[in-house]
């Protein structure tokens, strides 16, 4: 009974090794496919056809390319600069508050099925990141590159986490339908998509709490990093004690 065949797993090993050795991911993934096919004795033409078929049938994944001309032309005419100065005119807007409001709106709208309301190319790059950066430079002046990167990365994370943990509440979302179909196929009956959606709510709330808590602490982290950087660039002869206090 226990005839275990682990050859089909060789592709996973290639993926892990390829990433560890920092090869280009496209090459890693293609090699993983070829190795897997070879390990299970798939003939080359069948493998080529599988490659082509799946690549063709997943072309919708590249649709974000259509967004880029709009974002690019708006940026050429100063969208990012305007987002920064607009946020500067709002009193009390801090990096953490902007991201927290965005997070709540994004998660709630995703739960209502409005998943395409925002996203990395359409809102994070042109709006959220510049606004968060604008609010921080309002407080701290010119920001050093590491601090700018920290804030931008948080803006991207904010969108991802909010949408991931909101979307499964919406019962017509692909994931919920996938789970529902899976249960039916496996002969588990009496479960409605609505039940699955309801059971997504506790984790969605946990995500909200955990991430808002982290965002609340982000402000202090930015302040500390800005101070650290200012001190480092000011003079290297500062006493090491102060530096430790700030870190």
């Amino acid at each position: 009974m226990s005839e275990l065949n682990f050859l089909p797993l060789s592709g996973i090993l290639v993926v892990i090794l390829g990433f560890a050795l920092r090869f280009n991911p496209l090459l890693v993934v293609t090699c993983a496919g070829i190795v897997t096919g070879w390990a299970v004795d798939l003939d080359f033409l069948t493998m080529l056809e599988t490659f082509g078929e799946k690549f063709l049938n997943s072309r919708q994944l590249a649709s974000f390319l259509l967004l880029l001309p709009v974002i690019a032309i708006l940026e050429r005419y100063g969208l990012q600069q305007h987002a920064k100065s607009w946020i500067a005119s709002i009193k009390g807007a801090t990096t953490a508050r902007i991201m927290s409001v965005y997070f709540v709106v994004r998660e709630c709208s995703a739960a209502l099925g409005l998943i395409n309301l925002a996203g990395q190319p359409q809102t994070v790059r042109p709006l959220l990141a510049p606004m968060a950066l604008g609010a921080a430079s309002n407080l701290h002046g010119e920001l050093p590159k590491p601090v700018r990167d920290l804030i931008s990365a948080h803006a991207a994370a904010c969108d991802n986490i909010a949408v991931f943990f909101g979307e499964d509440i919406f019962i017509a979302f692909g994931a919920v339908l996938l789970m529902d179909a899976f249960l039916r196929e496996n002969g588990i009956t009496g479960i409605e998509p609505l039940h699955i959606g309801l059971w997504a709510i506790p984790t969605a709330i946990a995500a909200l709490i955990v991430h808002l808590f982290r965002l609340a602490r982000l402000e202090a982290k930015i302040r500390a990093q800005v101070a650290l950087h200012a001190e480092q660039s000011q003079s290297d002869a500062q006493s090491p004690v102060t530096r430790e206090e700030l870190a």
């Binding site: 991911p25 993934v29 496919g33 032309i73 991207a156």
Partner: protein, 339 residues
Amino acid sequence: MSAMRSTADVQPALLSIENIYLLIGFVVLFLVIKTLQDKHHPKRLTTALFWGLFGSVFLFGDLSLTYLGESLTYRWVGVFVILIAVLAGMGKVSMGHYDIPSEEEQTASATRIGNRLFIPAVLIPIVTVICTIVLKDIQIGGLFVFDQSHVTLAALTLACTIALLVSWKFTGGSPVQALGESRRLVDSIGWAAILPQMLAMLGGVFIVSNTGTAIQDLVTLFVSPDNRFMLVVIYCVGMALFTMVMGNAFAAFPVMTAGIAVPFLIQGHGASAAPLVAIGMYSGYCGTLMTPMAANFNIVPAALLDLKDKYQVIKVQIPTALSLLAINILLMYGVIFND
């Protein structure tokens, strides 16, 4: 996992999925021409070839399916995919040279145009959502406007077109200029733009090779069927790990759920299925937050935001992802058992 090509109920539409792919193909073709015209590009020809191969899958894919048939089309696309991977793997694809106006010029035009700069950006989601929800089945002369099986994508395409025209009105920058400008963004994303499709392809090979069954076999080696808590831990952590490899929780879900959750938790311990699958899927999402394979979410933004460290978005997400994974495990253990 990937969209099935259904032949039975295809209704013709103005913004049909085939037309949208053609449009993407033309956009990429335009970028290829721009790349070829870029005299200061350090890797002009190979970068153009890389995007040219990619674009031709969009330009000629559906035509080829109609005239050459499935088998031949899949083969040449397969060859192109391997060439794309080799070009990227040898480091032959790079950024070019772009005309960017100075910070002062940008600030000056920002002041001139003011809040109207926001309007096109905000229009994209609003038009998409309105079209998806309210206008999804409108027809012009008996022809559907939006592809009925890809309404969102069709609506997004229309929204981008409208936003492009509105931007033209407010900024004076024409759609052709906008396309040219987008080369800067596309090049900064680079190979990451293609990774999601490559992963769909790897998933296909895994299905043909029965990798899922092998994973189930592997996992069951570590499972002791009586320890409820460990079963929950292995299911949740397994979902996260396998999602990290595949870059997609949807690919991990059937494998891990059929391998662990159904036999051991549902049949073995009478666990409730609804919370089990809902929380299990979310455990997979925790994995999505921690993997470079989920390029659209983790690597593309790092490029778009010009981060020095390509993995910084992932690094920022890890604390939230791990906390939520732990919460998921405890929550699942707390709610799925009825006795």
